[in-house]
């Protein structure tokens, strides 16, 4: 459980970045934090592993006030993956990048090796095991950064813009990976501008605007609400716009991705053009 209690934050001599944020994230939940550039999303998640401490209010991780723990202590349970992988990568090889934290946490060498191998496979990085992270592409470095955190198996996984630079297959892989993490009981929090990715994952969406939570609910409700979408500089998923455009077909309001649109249109099209669609 991660919770914030009236959390406000400002950097020294700047206006407030967060204002009285109250948020509870239960174990095993999947939450996407969305909102305009500068809304305070990254500031908020940096509170979850204690990198930032609120200037007012409190943040609790598994019941413990983050003021009372070091970042190192909190990190064992809260893995935070930065938006820019270069803020995080430093080792000479991809394999070293992954084993560094495990050795630091005192894992035995055979366990280190096994975990590193498994994680490299899970994120499609095996072939880069002995490469320097810095010769990889942006999207690949991003996956190395993710792997380097997930490898120590934190209970809560926080990712800042995990889909940047990822192609569709990698996003699909990431989505399946998140589903897998959640089925293991882990909490997954992502910060994302990627409306289409969120529309396909359908997590709980928390919308931040100018440091305040302006909406909180299922993706199907939040991403189709024109007023909050506008207020937080989002755009509606393309499929929602299509459904809004085809309102004479009376689509239900929760169609936000291509797969649910297909189910709906299949019925409508069959009814319109006869009982059976023509076979190719």
């Amino acid at each position: 459980m991660i919770s914030t209690e009236n959390v406000s934050f400002h950097y020294p001599s700047t206006p407030e970045v967060l204002h009285e944020v109250n948020l509870q994230i239960k174990d095993g939940e999947f939450v996407a934090i969305m909102g305009e550039n500068g809304a305070g999303k990254t500031t908020l998640i940096k509170m979850f592993n204690g990198l930032l401490k609120p200037t007012q209010g409190k943040v609790f991780v598994d019941g413990v006030d983050t003021h009372e723990r070091s970042v190192a202590q909190l990190s064992r349970n809260v893995g935070l993956i930065f938006q820019n992988p270069d803020h995080q990568l430093f080792a000479e090889t991809v394999a070293d990048e992954l084993s560094f934290s495990l050795r630091n946490f005192g894992f035995k060498e055979d366990i280190v090796q096994r975990r590193v191998t498994n994680m490299l496979t899970a994120l499609d990085l095996d072939r880069y095991k002995d490469s320097s992270p810095f010769v990889l592409s942006g999207g690949e470095r991003k996956r190395v950064a993710l792997a380097a955190i997930l490898v120590w198996d934190p209970k809560h996984v926080i990712m800042d813009e995990p889909t940047i630079g990822q192609d569709y297959l990698q996003k699909d892989r990431l989505r399946n990976f998140i589903v897998q993490l959640i089925s293991q009981g882990k909490t997954v929090v992502i910060v994302s501008h990627d409306v289409e990715f969120v529309a396909e994952c359908k997590p709980r969406v928390v919308l931040l605007s100018r440091g305040r939570i302006i909406a909180d609910g299922p993706a199907t409700e939040i991403l189709t609400d024109p007023s909050v979408v506008e207020q937080s500089s989002l755009v509606m998923p393309q499929i929602s716009s299509l459904m809004a455009n085809l309102k004479e077909l009376e689509p239900p309001p929760d169609i936000i991705d291509a797969y649910s649109a297909r189910e709906f249109l299949r019925v409508k099209l069959k009814a319109a053009i006869g009982a059976q669609p023509p076979k190719r």
């Binding site: 990889l136 500089s233 393309q238």
Partner: protein, 260 residues
């Protein structure tokens, strides 16, 4: 990259996309000499940009022909005011003061940031920063603009706005655009051509609606969601021949099928 052959005509708007690690950024870096001048490696073959042989030219010489905009505007902005930032390239080239003032003004106007001229880059939103970065390269009056995922750090609305700025530069100034993008939902309607790279080679090349077929999906590019929907419905046997790239095109095609 392996045996890449590509000709882009003046005034085209080309989207370059493909799986991560396929060679998109590497290709772009060759166009302004960043490869091989700054990144070492083995480069073979011939490359001409704006009628100039790239081989042996410095990145500075090429900068007046090829403007380069990066993913993260923060990597490109450093001055204390937007105006100074936009002027930096021209000052470096030794452009006369009067002409430089005029070009800086024009570049800021074209990207819609004239009123931000006295602000510090760090005071700007991500979208405004990216406009300032574009203005900085535009002031050099290049004939080609290469943009490497310029929207990925922006919120969706700012991303749409930046893409519109790029489309306007293409239409009004006949600037050739090479845009590296994964967000095909928001860029496809402005491009006349999509080039898909895969494993260092060019896999597909053509107008968006032709390129966005089954092969593109199998390579793993993120088709616009309306295109993806049409792929699914076609698999169900519905006669939807053309791949739409916009909501309007998709609506029209679906209505046409229903009212038949």
């Amino acid at each position: 990259m392996d045996n890449v052959n590509l000709t882009i005509e003046k005034g085209e708007f080309v989207i370059l996309t493909g799986p991560s690690g396929c060679g998109k950024t590497t290709f772009c870096r060759c166009l302004n000499g960043l490869i091989p001048n700054f990144y070492s490696g083995n480069l073979q073959g011939d490359l001409e940009v704006d009628g100039l042989k790239v081989e042996g030219k410095s990145t500075a010489e090429l900068a007046t022909h090829v403007g380069f905009v990066f993913q993260n505007p923060e990597n490109q902005l450093f001055s204390l005011s937007v105006e100074r930032d936009v002027a930096f390239g021209l000052e470096n080239l030794g452009v006369p003061r009067e002409e430089a003032i005029e070009r800086v003004r024009w570049a800021m106007e074209s990207t819609g940031i004239l009123e931000l001229r006295d602000k510090a880059p760090y005071e700007l939103s991500g979208g405004q920063q990216q406009r300032a970065a574009i203005a900085g390269v535009l002031a050099m009056q290049p004939s080609i603009l290469v943009l490497d995922e310029p929207t990925s750090f922006l919120d969706p609305k700012s991303a749409v706005d930046i893409v519109k700025v790029i489309a306007r530069l293409n239409q009004e100034l006949q600037l050739t655009i090479l845009l590296v993008e994964h967000r095909l939902d928001i860029v496809s309607q402005y491009a006349n051509r999509v080039v898909v790279m895969d494993k260092g080679t060019i896999a597909l090349d053509g107008p968006p609606s032709e390129v966005y077929g089954d092969n593109a999906r199998l390579i793993g590019i993120g088709l616009p969601r309306v295109t993806m929907l049409f792929h699914l419905l076609r698999r169900d046997g519905f006669p939807l021949t053309r791949n739409p790239t916009t909501v309007d095109e998709a609506s029209t095609a679906l209505r046409g099928l229903i009212s038949k």
